[in-house]
Symmetry: C3
Subunit: 471 residues, 3 copies
């Protein structure tokens, strides 16, 4: 029952190729972590308090775990998730019982990246030495909870232990960034920067759109009831975020549609949208225009722009109504870039100071659209394999399908994109190892000398994310 | 010219990984075959008569072979396929000549699964010991035909030799299941269950729709000219099939579109459809609604529901008109699930007693739609790689693209889905070997301990299909 | 800094499998090159003059290089590309400086096929012995320019050294084929045939459509202002091209849509199109009908038909306006075949004397549409992996996704499809090696005996392209 991480995990089978991969990995294993896009909570680093316990830390916030447990017939209430709608049924409150239920179902994660991240967290971060499962659930529960009480498991100590050089959190446009301010004021040397995610002021279908428009009006002292004032208010928020370390914005849209309206058309459209009279097609056109406006602002203020699109949020309505967001019911959609991005590219595509990083949940775009686009337009960079594809097979497919048309140097290195702080080392370790596995293939097939591969490995793990995100 | 099957066939090249795959395979090689979806003829097992000869057994019924031979310029008449339309040209009747023509063209099957299945059938089932080709065609023809006359090559003897624990056939809703009754009455212990395939009563575009409605009305004693009676008649047929061992229904639709009409809307739609006045969009809506009705019935009676969609039947009209169905002219189509299944999932998706097994001919859905859906909704399971993808590369792609988001335990193990009875051992052997090859990769890459991989291998080969199909 | 090509390049890592690949490759390495589709300039072989210098030979005409350099922020003017619109900025004219700029950015090509082709060209064709980069740029520039002055580097000498048995160029319908005539008249034994690319007379959206209609009218002595005369004029050009060695036509369309209009409908449509009054949908219908007309002519005159579609030409409008075509701004589009080709296939699909070779930039069609279609219709053959996919990973994906449904014998071998004459040996070498790598997998996995694999390797490298293209 003893367990430890395989030091050659994710490396190819052939011994000679494995040695190459191991050699490349040795050169990057201890490089600091650059985490330019993610969802950790700035309050952790501001307050540096202890994490509560195994269940609330490792299980509840992780929609990757919740979705697969739910698919196996494990009810959310049985693992302690409280419904918001007062629907019937007992909610389990005994955390040890919840943890043991999770352990019982640990076998369903075989072959998934969750298994990899968790094993790493357990064996490496918590120093456990046997496999997780029903027989060891109690031991795990006690050990983890005990360790969480120690100073070594406080957020800042872990930040340092994880060798994080810089981490970006994600905040909405109306956030006051008090935690970031507190971190800065604290004298702690950890670098935690924010990222502006302004969907609530650019998407008329967002539940808080109207309120958010008012709010950024107040915050900026601009009149957001007219187009000019609205744009200035956003520019103001961007400046505020930059003052708190932000180098990037992030945009979550259903489609990648962009538009290129004349100022007069945009002004008329905004009036309808702000007045709440816009039709669905007009609201989509507004989102499209706002991507182009955001690009224009990026050209002006130098912020890197990220586009995450193609997610069908809350596909399972019943679960959404009962338990809210981020519970495992988000799904990928078919995506397309070629025509959708053209209006934006027609305006800013040839500007090599502008950076637009693209992500997708639809891998059919890698070789057909994303790599060819990034392999031509100076402004475009490819974000790493995202979400459902942030996994050994997913990252390998990403490299195989993008490298030949875009090269390595039109990619942005790795993002962990996670709120699971304890999994950050696991995720970077995995991504670095898969990149080395891919590079070892180029080396053993005579496609790249090992000295150049070693340089690429360092660039992917460290220099590219730092450079592309201007960190 | 001597030939035998490679005992390490389909295993990875690296010796250490190969040994892992072989060890995993040794643990499942002799497990009984569970064949929960297929198209063998129940009459074979009811009557237990000898098969006729090599050509009528191995060549003519196999649309996989006919399509590739036809693509190479081999006319169907030249291999003895009789046109139905009295069109000109001599039809070859000399079976030895036909067999030799097949042998001449055997080289075009290099690299295809047909080659694998046939080599297995020849060398393993018939005990031949040299390679098939023009030089050995006579020897093959004589040996096969001689063996087919012996008791060991009768259907029941082979069923036992193939170590089949249970096999499911597929019958239409108006079938009287007399062969299944005869098998049950015969005292033979082989388990042959039926599966209900009711397309002729749920698809208004089916050539026998109107007649089938009348027929199930007669069989069930229900008035199928109204919506309620029609639904009761189908429920009656489901009960009849369950009484003959059926645990599942199967649905062949062009799209995966489902609908969720109110009873009154459904009733009005049925009236139009039954009256023959429904427009194409209404007929599609009716099919969509019937998938949801079938799901409702499954929730009530516990039958497992299978959806095979995305096939363009009889794409080659000339060949269809002349030679009829299943001659090799069926083609895959682009498929989509995310929005199409939503109406059904909104009603029954959260029911973990309900089982809906999904198949696709469009692999772009594996990672983007199917695995994420099955990795969340409790009712969904993924059927194995289907038809054009039931092959070494196809099965490997399936595992690579579904496991990370759905895990192994949201899949339904293997289906052979074949009418080629003699190929059943070959198909299960192939699927089990590829699964072991995939698992050996997880093991050697440190992603799964071998003891757990061995458990997964057994589950995929035996326990999962048995459990998911309730066999 | 010394460098040489790895003799085992592109072969698999496992030593036993690598030995199989090497054995298969040894059997085809020295087979003559059949180049049935490409864009070399017939004038080179007609005039046999020396190539100018490294920059104008290797950099400027290669849109693969220009696109990636441009994506990295290298302006086209800085590498000597002259804008056509008189826009501002200095155009670099110092070729040595341009060459050094290229060398500085050579690292961005790591992992791309360009790197492979260039390394082969440098080390093998030019006999250089150290790696290309900033430190060796001068040495490269001087060595290449010196060699280009020698007789051994003249077009005909290289044609012979490259062991080209036959090469096809591509000419438009109004070309007079004087260079092909000159080659024939010269007594030189190199076989350079033409291919007819008649887009300018079949695509009403082509910028030279009206002028080209008049021109082929003059050339053929037909009245191209009416449908019958127009068709006869095209038939006349086909005969003219055949007289200059052409065995094939090539068609570059945005979609694969075909149509099957009655003669009267086609005549009416042509009148609108020729008169310039056709709407966009009518112009698309005309292109669709012309594909079917071209198929009809192919059935009559035996010319092989090629369809290259799914390219969004000049996606980057600014660059197109400033620098013209083929500068790196062409992009792949989503493609579809199943319904689009049906009108053509309904007429000629069952004709096994007719050959239609299909290419795609959308790999999702390989397994879902192209391989199933080619694995049934006698007229269809699959062209090799095209353009963005003409690479180690791209070719391997092509084999993996097409072989199981179409076999090897419904494919047309390799096309280099290049204007980069010096890269032709590299491209064929690469394709042959990847095919051997794929075959070595079939062999070591017990899916194909090595003797048969060796036959397939020879067929793919030599016999199939020769046979399918009737060369």
């Amino acid at each position: 029952m003893s367990a430890r991480l395989d030091p050659c995990r994710f490396f190819p089978a052939d011994p000679r190729q494995r040695a190459i991969a191991a050699e490349l990995f040795a050169g990057i294993e201890h490089l600091p972590i650059i985490s330019p896009h993610g969802h950790t909570d700035a309050a952790w680093f501001a307050q540096d308090g202890p994490f509560e316990d195994a269940v609330s830390l490792l299980l509840w916030p992780d929609h990757y775990l919740l979705r697969l447990l739910y698919s196996a017939g494990v009810s959310l209430k049985s693992i302690g998730i409280e419904p918001m709608d007062g629907s019937d049924g007992v909610v389990e409150t005994d955390r040890r019982k919840i943890w043991k239920r999770f352990a019982e179902y640990y076998y369903i994660f075989r072959g998934t990246p969750c298994r990899t991240w968790l094993d790493h967290t357990f064996l490496e971060v918590f120093g456990l030495d046997r496999a997780f499962g029903p027989d060891t659930a109690d031991h795990y529960f006690d050990t983890i909870n005990d360790k969480l009480k120690t100073p070594a498991f406080r957020p800042r100590a872990l930040f340092e232990r994880f060798n994080i050089e810089v981490i970006a959190t994600t905040e909405h446009s109306i956030d006051l960034l008090q935690h970031h301010e507190a971190i800065a004021a604290s004298g702690w040397k950890g670098r935690v920067v924010t990222t502006l995610r302004p969907d609530e002021v650019t998407d008329p279908d967002h539940e808080h759109f109207a309120a958010s428009l008012r709010k950024i009006g107040e915050l900026s002292g601009e009149d957001t009831s007219n187009w000019r004032g609205y744009l200035r208010a956003i520019e103001n928020r961007r400046a505020f975020f930059r003052a708190h370390g932000a180098t990037a914005t992030d945009h979550g849209h259903v489609t990648a549609q962009t538009a290129n309206l004349s100022p007069a058309e945009a002004e008329r459209l905004f009036a309808k949208v702000a007045g709440g009279t816009a039709q669905p097609a007009e609201r989509e056109l507004f989102r499209a225009q706002m991507l182009t406006e955001m690009a224009r602002m990026s050209v002006e203020d130098g912020m890197v722009m990220q586009l995450h699109h193609g997610c069908w949020r809350n596909h399972n309505e019943l679960i959404y109504r009962r338990f809210g967001r981020n519970i495992g019911g988000d799904m990928p959609m078919q995506a397309a870039f070629m025509g959708q991005l053209k209006p934006l590219l027609d305006r800013f595509g040839n500007n090599s100071d502008f950076t637009l990083i693209l992500f997708t949940l639809d891998e059919t775009n890698y070789a057909r659209e994303l790599a060819p686009l990034a392999g031509h337009y100076p402004c475009l960079k490819l974000g790493p394999a995202w979400w459902f594809h942030d996994s050994p097979e997913g990252i390998m497919r990403y490299r195989r399908q993008t490298t030949e048309s875009a090269g390595f140097y039109n990619t942005a290195g790795f993002n962990d994109d996670t709120r699971a702080f304890f999994s950050i080392p696991a995720r970077h370790d995995l991504a670095r190892r898969i990149d080395c596995a891919y590079l070892s293939e180029l080396v053993i097939q005579g496609r790249l000398p090992i000295a150049e591969a070693a340089e690429v490995a360092k660039d992917l793990a460290y220099h590219l994310p730092k450079k592309v995100y201007k960190l």
